[in-house]
């Protein structure tokens, strides 16, 4: 079993997730090589060959160029699988490579089993086991699902160059919105999810946060709908928090939300759905209607 791991750089920096790829390859028992569009001043510790294209020449991510580089290395190496993180880079690039190689792609793998790869489905409530029917397979793995490899080894570097014409032109980055609420400092966070129903109900959640001396958090749909300001959003595209107490009100527990709060000391979830995936991280799951339970809890605390 031979794998080609596709690591990622952004603005000259090697992203840490690269070590998750190495961890995954270790679990798979695969012999692996890596491809990076980066710089030799920032190489990961890795025992194997790194095919390196200079980001100083290639520029920031261009899908046509990165696809071409991968296809060149696939031609040399003939790997059984090509592995990406399931991130904005991986889910953008992986299907392009799968299409070019006319092979299966299995997305957002959370575990390796005897019968194939486990992936989440139905908003993380369920799982599927998926097997590839083609000789070669493109894989993307869920961030945080596999152990981070130890930082050891010295790679053997092979330089790559390529040129492509692309119909896509990278213009630049826009920084994240400034956050005027620093949730990371709060001991208690009470989060409003879409299950609170409507904007008019948000003060009920806020009142519980206040009664506990904490801050209001929000899931993404609540922010997208304009019920709560973005500075309160918890998750991969919001803030990462680990308070002493996190109370999730009407939050289903999508992976992107969990990534922002699962390290909290004690997690309470209030959800009318007993099977909601938030139950996987909750220390206490209260099966109830938020709008009945939360006001009653707040009243009792005051």
């Amino acid at each position: 079993m031979k794998s080609l791991l596709i690591g990622e750089y952004r603005e000259g920096r090697l992203l840490d997730t690269t070590y998750e790829l190495i961890g995954f390859a270790g679990q798979l028992g695969a012999e692996s090589a890596m491809l990076l569009v980066g710089s030799d001043s920032q190489l990961p510790a890795f025992n194997g060959t790194i095919y390196l294209a200079d980001a100083g020449v290639c520029g920031e991510y261009n899908p046509d160029l990165h696809k071409q580089l991968i296809l060149e290395v696939v031609g040399k190496l003939n790997p059984d699988c090509i592995v990406f993180m399931h991130t904005s880079y991986g889910w953008d690039l992986a299907p392009r490579v799968a299409a070019a190689l006319k092979c299966a792609q299995i997305s957002e793998i959370v575990a390796i089993t005897d019968n194939g790869f486990e992936v989440g489905c139905c908003n993380a409530k369920m799982r599927r086991t998926v097997r590839s029917a083609t000789g070669r397979t493109v894989l993307t793995i869920q961030a945080g699902a596999f152990p981070v490899a130890g930082r050891e080894g010295t790679p053997c570097v092979e330089q790559l160059t390529t040129a492509v014409t692309s119909t896509l032109e990278f213009v630049g980055y826009e920084p994240a919105e400034a956050k005027d609420v620093d949730l990371a400092k709060a001991d208690v966070i009470v989060t409003a999810g879409r299950g609170v129903g409507k904007k008019e109900n948000v003060p009920v959640i806020q009142a519980l946060a206040k009664a506990l001396g904490g801050e209001l958090g929000a899931s993404r749909p609540v922010v997208d709908a304009g019920w709560v300001d973005h500075s309160h959003q918890v998750g991969t595209t919001g803030q990462t928090v680990s308070p002493k107490l996190y109370i999730a009100c009407g939050v289903s527990g999508a992976i992107q939300h969990l990534a922002g709060m699962k390290k909290s000391d004690f997690i309470v979830a209030i959800n009318k759905d007993k099977d909601a995936p938030i139950g996987e991280v909750a220390d206490l799951l209260v099966v109830a209607d938020v709008m009945q339970f939360v006001p009653a809890l707040t009243a009792k605390l005051q």
Partner: protein, 258 residues
Amino acid sequence: MKLLVCIKQVPDMESRFKPNGSGTWFDEADLAWRMNEYDEYAVEEAVRLREQLGESAELTVLSIGPDRVVEAIKKALAMGADRAVHIQDPAVADKDPWQIASIIVAHAREQQYDLIFTGMQSQDRGSAQVGVLVAEQLGLSCATTLVGFSYENGIVTAKRELEGGIKGVARLRLPALVTCQLGLNVPRYPTLPNIMKAKKKEIAALPVDGLLAEPAVAVTTSFHPPAKKGGGVVLEGEVGVLVDKVIGILKEKTAILR
């Protein structure tokens, strides 16, 4: 200018999912269906562009699936799409993303769309593949995970969402395909007059048989709930009792309440 938006109908994610007879997907009995959330953003963005371009543009909505998907198609028509293509496939759930993309490609190759909108992923399968596979097979310029979109003089400016709230801005020349992320816009609710108007719009029904030549490349062998990690306490019952129990547990387990 010819615009296409691809939509999938998915079950309400608050449903209880049980494996079907073959144990490879969910049983469809007693499920409520709706338009994939990501696709609502795609439809809204496509309708906005259709309005910006006026009569020179035509927006087609496409969905592959059994007869029930016509409900989702009607919603897209009521939001402002001009016409629809329903690719009839009762066995859509057994197709892998490669096959779904190939079906869309077979239709789109003939139609020569200038710009295609899809969702970033479907809520039930969540593969995040179909849009990009369509673009690659048709040789279209493609950007994924859009939280910003604008179009002028043959050029799309796409704002892609990256990790940590950073955005990457790119320009694409037509023909192109974009995949839409949550929060790209605020999808409109169809108004009653528009729902009435939509009833007169064309929904062309095409059997899938003529459009699919590709075998599946990925095989699902099992559909099941996640293994219970355990440890957590689950409380059910009357609200007053629950409140007392929760306060008791918080006093015992956290330093927040005393």
